[in-house]
Symmetry: C2
DNA sequence: CAGTGGTCTAGACCACGCG
DNA sequence: GCGTGGTCTAGACCACTGG
C-alpha cells in the first residue's frame, strides 16, 4: 500500500509542470516515442525495445506502453509482428501503394506506375507555393515534372514542389526514383507521415493533351496533395493530372 | 484458484465447436453486439448497457468488453460519451457530412447541399445495376435523379439506384429528404455502415450542361459510390457528377 | 528453448455528466 | 452522490517466431 502511494507521489512530483494541463501517461509515452522517431533515434525498419523494456525505462506498466504503441500502430507510424517485436514503419512499395496512392485499374488492381522525369529546376517560390509549403523565409524550392505510365500508357502528369531547405543537393547525383517517399526517407531521413488531398476535374491543357495523348480540354482528374513530415511540417506539394479513362481513384469509408 | 480453473473449463466446454477455429473472446463479444445491431435490438441513438452489465451478461471481464466496444467505436458503429454511456451511431447531419460527404468549398468549409428531385421511377435493373447491387433474383429497383445546390448554385447531378426489396412504398408518401442515409435509417431501419467510392473525371453531357449551367463537355468529377448495410449487403448505388469550379473533394491520409 | 506481442482478468482510482 | 466511461496497474497465460 505504502509503496503504491509513494509511487503516485513520485509520478506527480516528477511532472509538476503538468498539473495544470493534465496529460495521461500513455500520451506522455506516445510523445516520447514520437520525439525519438522525429530525432531518428529509432529509424524506419528498426525494432523498438520490447514493451517490458519500455515500461521499465519509462516507469509505467506494460499495459500503458501497449496502449501508446497501439495508438501509433493505428496511425501507421509503427507496426507489430507477433513473436518478433514492434517496428518503425518504412515507405515500402506496399505502404506507398495502399496509403498514399489511390489509383486502381477498372478491375480493381493497384500498380505503382513507372515514371519519367521531364524537367527539373530550382527557383524562387511562387506566392501559392510559399503559402502551401508554409515557408518561413524566402527559401528556394525544387520543382520538377514527370509522366507516369500505366502499362506503358502515359496516364498521369505530375508537378512536384519541394522546399530546398530539406533536400540539399537534390537531383545532383542522379534522377529521383519512382518511389519518392522511400527516397526522401532513405536519403534525407524525412518520413512522410500524413497527407491532405483535394480532388477536382480540370480540362487538359495543350501541353497535357500532347503528353497524355488525349484531346485538348478533355477531362482530367486533378489530385492536389500536400504531404507532411512526422512533426507536421510540409515536405512535398504534388499536383497530379490523371487520365481516368482506364483508371480511377478509390476510397473506402465507414 | 479452483474457481478460476472451473471458469476456464466452462468457457471452453461452452464453445466446443470453436476449438478448431479459435476465436478470441472480444471477437465473440463484438459479433454478439454486431448481431444485435443488425437485428435492431439496439437501435441508433440507444445507449448500450454499461460495460459492467455487458461483462456480467456475457461472462467476460470489463476489459474484454472495453476492447470489443473500442474496436466498434473505431468502425464508427458506436460512440462513447464519458459519464453517459456507449451509444449506437446515427446518421446525423454531422455524421453524413464527415463520413460520407467529402465535398468542401475552396476555403475548406463543408456544407450538406440542398437538393431537388428531378424524376423518379421503378424499373427492371440494368445489367450493371444488377451486378453492382448484388441482386439475387430479378428484383426491381428504384431510381431517381436530383440536383444539389451549393449556396443556391446547382453543383451536383446525382443518379441514385436502390433495391426495391429493402424500400417498400418508397416515395409514395412524400419526397425523399435531403439526408437520405438518415431517412433510410429512421423509416426503413437500414443503417449504412460503409461505402466504396470510385472517382473519375468525365465530360458534361448535354443534359448535365443544361442542369449545371456549364458548357457541354466541360470536366465534371464523377463520384461512383456503393453503400452497404451493417451486414455488408449493398443498399444504394449513387453516381454523382460534380462541377468542381468552386468546390473540391477532400481526403486525409496517414 | 527463450523472448516477443496478444489476450484476459481483477481491481483501483480518476473525470465527467446529471440529478 | 452516483453511475458512466477513461486510465492504470500487476500478473497470468496463450500464440507466434527464431535460433
Amino acid at each position: 500500500m505504502t509503496e503504491k502511494i509513494t509511487k503516485l507521489k513520485l509520478i506527480k512530483s516528477g511532472h509538476p509542470s503538468q498539473t495544470t494541463r493534465p496529460q495521461t501517461k500513455y500520451q506522455r509515452v506516445e510523445n516520447i516515442i514520437r520525439q525519438r522517431l522525429i530525432e531518428n533515434i529509432w529509424k524506419p525498419g528498426d525494432a523498438l525495445p520490447s514493451e517490458i523494456q519500455l515500461a521499465t525505462e519509462l516507469d509505467v506498466s506494460q499495459g500503458t506502453v501497449r496502449k501508446a504503441l497501439n495508438d501509433m500502430v493505428a496511425e501507421n507510424l509503427l507496426y507489430r509482428r507477433q513473436g518478433l517485436g514492434t517496428f518503425v514503419s518504412q515507405h515500402t512499395e506496399r505502404r506507398a501503394l495502399f496509403l498514399y496512392f489511390s489509383l486502381a485499374g477498372n478491375n480493381g488492381t493497384r500498380i505503382l506506375p513507372e515514371s519519367k522525369i521531364l524537367n527539373f529546376r530550382e527557383k524562387e517560390p511562387s506566392e501559392a507555393e510559399f503559402t502551401k509549403l508554409e515557408l518561413m523565409n524566402r527559401d528556394r524550392v525544387i520543382q520538377f515534372q514527370r509522366i507516369r505510365y500505366y502499362e506503358d500508357v502515359p496516364t498521369i502528369f505530375e508537378t512536384i514542389t519541394l522546399p530546398l531547405e530539406h533536400f540539399p543537393d537534390f537531383g545532383s547525383d542522379s534522377e529521383p526514383p519512382n518511389n519518392l517517399f522511400r527516397f526522401y526517407q532513405s536519403f534525407y531521413g524525412i518520413t512522410v507521415a500524413k497527407a491532405e488531398e483535394q480532388l477536382r476535374a480540370v480540362p487538359a491543357s495543350h501541353e497535357e493533351s500532347n503528353i497524355l495523348n488525349v484531346p485538348e480540354n478533355s477531362p482530367l482528374l486533378e489530385i492536389n496533395r500536400l504531404a507532411r513530415m512526422l512533426d507536421g511540417r510540409p515536405v512535398e506539394w504534388r499536383v497530379s493530372h490523371c487520365d481516368t479513362t482506364n483508371y480511377h481513384y478509390i476510397k473506402e469509408s465507414g
